[in-house]
């Protein structure tokens, strides 16, 4: 499959090419890639693509995933509606 068509983040529709060009241009950490491309900031909360973004960066930069500033897990771990918390 074409790298351009290979979607890493499905929620925000970020392709592998988007991520690799961002890394090439800015030589940045995975957190910066996330902020620049929005990969991992979509509806699912990065559950699908977090490790893929980390891995892509590790491969391209040749260092460990989540280098200086790692991609964090933040509450709520799952998107929940206010309805679930009580009330309508």
């Amino acid at each position: 499959m074409e790298r351009k068509e290979l979607i890493i983040c499905r929620c925000e529709e970020v392709s592998l090419t988007d991520i690799s060009s961002t890394i090439e241009k800015y030589q940045c950490s995975s957190r910066e890639v996330k902020l620049r491309t929005r990969a991992g900031m979509g509806y699912c909360g990065g559950r699908v693509c977090r490790s893929l973004v980390d891995k892509a960066i590790a491969e391209m930069k040749g260092d460990q995933p989540s280098d200086e500033i790692p991609l964090t897990y933040r509450p709520p771990v799952r998107p929940i509606s206010f309805r679930t918390l009580g009330g309508n």
């Binding site: 499905r10 929620c11 699912c44 559950r47 699908v48 509606s81």
Partner: protein
Amino acid sequence: MTSLRITKHPILKLNSKKQILHFTFDNQKFTGVEGDTIASALLANGILTLRRHEESGSPRGVYCNIGHCFECRVIVDGMEGVRACLTPLREGMDVQSGQKLPKPFKTGITEQEFRDYFRAGESQ
């Protein structure tokens, strides 16, 4: 279209006397059976596109089918972000697919529009 539901299986005993449930998807009438999720009922009806991506409008459907990825989210009885793969089908459910949304802040305005806007402001 003929149903894609498996009714005969060489190993599994399938209960053919399940209650039929009626529901609508994008205002079109469909039927599922008791025990279906919204996703399985639509799949049995040959519907694979559950929504459109908000920005690009590309088609999306079931991806993980375990409630992880939120790719199959639909609008159920007016409530947004309901996962079709986890939500059991109920009689009379109104399911709507997510559609492409407008993006007025993505393109911004041109320099000429910007100038025109402020020139209009000056004359007032």
